[in-house]
């Protein structure tokens, strides 16, 4: 390869690397940029090969929520019998939890369990109707399988860790990573405001997007990929294999929430609705025959809006205890 074409190739690779945002990892020695060095930067495995000093680390608390990739350590200063850590990623992430080092007494009653989803007050997200695994398979116990299978992956952007440590000095370290999920199905939103497009590509499954706030939802586009049947729309969505429903409730389990609206015909143009519940869910049911897509935005309801809604409605389906 001549010097000119080599320089051109290096410049091209450098430009591509810069556009991908990985130029900060270039190590230029003696003003020579080797094509091999640049090519290695284009590898998708770059993230896993970051030097140790770039890994985020902190201590875990007994009740904690983690949204950053990194290494997290819990050390029991006293018996900690009921602890839980929530993990959450972006809607298009799935979560990987890897045990790095564990110093617990399984026979003494200590445990560390990973749950595939979130569970709160006995209600789980995703619900059993929306999750591919049966309930007992969604728990993975370190004391039973953690040594042989140190990495657990979630099916959606949320996961939980339950643990109990009896002895002071017991500890464990986990590495939390986020992996890309090209067709996110069940999602818990990190924020009370945002937007999302849910696509179910010819799969027979149900997907829920959960917003743990009272919000106003604005559905911009719904495409159910089926012929619009006016008769069906008049009679409601009962019997339709593909539809979107808005749910509201005060728990995590979508199967126990109240339906606020059903949509079973495609449309363009905003349709909005205020849901004054602790948990607002956009759920899509898909038969698998079509490619279904729904795009929506949501924003937090203000206190005065909530008060107004309570004043206007005869029946409050989201009664607070």
């Amino acid at each position: 390869m001549s010097g000119t074409s080599r320089a051109q190739l290096c410049f091209l690779l450098l430009s591509v690397t810069a556009l991908r945002g990985h130029a900060r990892f270039l190590d230029i020695q003696d003003n020579e940029i080797s094509p091999e060095g640049l090519l290695s930067l284009l590898s998708s495995e770059l993230k896993r090969e970051l030097p140790e000093e770039f890994v985020y680390r902190r201590a875990l608390r007994c009740l904690d929520m983690v949204a950053i990739e990194g290494q997290f350590t819990f050390t029991a200063e006293r018996p900690q019998l009921n602890c839980a850590v929530f993990f959450i990623g972006e809607p298009s992430d799935i979560i990987s939890i890897e045990y790095d080092s564990v110093n617990i007494d399984c026979r003494g009653g200590d445990f560390i369990k990973v749950f595939d989803g979130w569970v709160m007050k006995g209600e789980k997200f995703p619900s059993s109707q929306d999750h591919p695994l049966p309930l007992y398979e969604r728990y993975s116990d370190y004391c039973e399988t953690g040594v042989s299978r140190p990495i657990t992956r979630s099916s959606q952007n949320v996961a939980m860790l339950f643990f109990r440590l009896h002895q002071s000095g017991s500890s464990f370290t986990v590495t939390f990573r986020k992996l890309i999920n090209p067709f996110p199905c069940n999602v818990v939103s990190q924020t009370p405001e945002g937007s999302f497009t849910m696509v179910i590509p010819q799969q027979h499954r149900n997907c829920s997007f959960s917003i743990i706030y009272p919000v106003e939802i604005q559905i911009g586009e719904l495409n159910l990929g089926q012929h619009n049947d006016l008769k069906r729309s008049i009679l409601g969505c009962a019997g339709s294999g593909d539809f979107v429903e808005l749910l509201g409730g005060n728990g995590m389990d979508t199967s126990k929430m109240f339906p606020m609206a059903d949509l079973c015909y495609s449309f363009n143009g905003p349709a909005q609705m205020k849901v004054g519940c602790d948990n607002t869910v956009v759920r899509m049911v898909s038969s698998g025959k079509f490619v279904n897509r729904v795009s929506f935005q949501y924003r937090l309801l203000g206190h005065h809006e909530l008060q107004q809604m309570k004043g206007n409605s005869v029946e409050d389906v989201c009664l607070r205890a």
């Binding site: 983690v66 709160m120 006995g122 007992y136 339950f162």
Partner: protein, 154 residues
Amino acid sequence: MLALHRQHTLSNFRRTPELHVLLAAVSLWVFVSLSESAPGHTDTQLPVLMRFGEEYFTRLDNAAHSPRAPDRRAPSRTEALQLQLTQRLLGGKVGSVGNGIMNSFVERERRSEDPPISLDLTFHLLREVLQMARAEQLAQRASNNRKIMDDLGK
């Protein structure tokens, strides 16, 4: 990792002046016996300490945890105290968490669809910890961006 803040109570744990006096005057040791341990889990009686001064009350629902055989579980006998957990995160960068009550139940009822391990948390507290996690994430991104800009400037 625990900081002192004002207390919240559950709706079924009414706050009375007498209760405050009682709690302030007494240190209580509660021994909870677990009913029916699963094979391999030899959990003995667990002391649960309620201490004055740390605003620390623990609610523990006894029972064995056996997610694979929920039908074998006997009805759990529960001795309950309350867990109040307040925290401060990130050395003051985020500020103190709002208050709330956390009750955790180790076992649930016999129905197989009930999660064997669950956390009894209010949405309010869940949102608080979520907000803290988001703030931590944004702070980390800002720190990374600063490092990148510093490296580019060299």
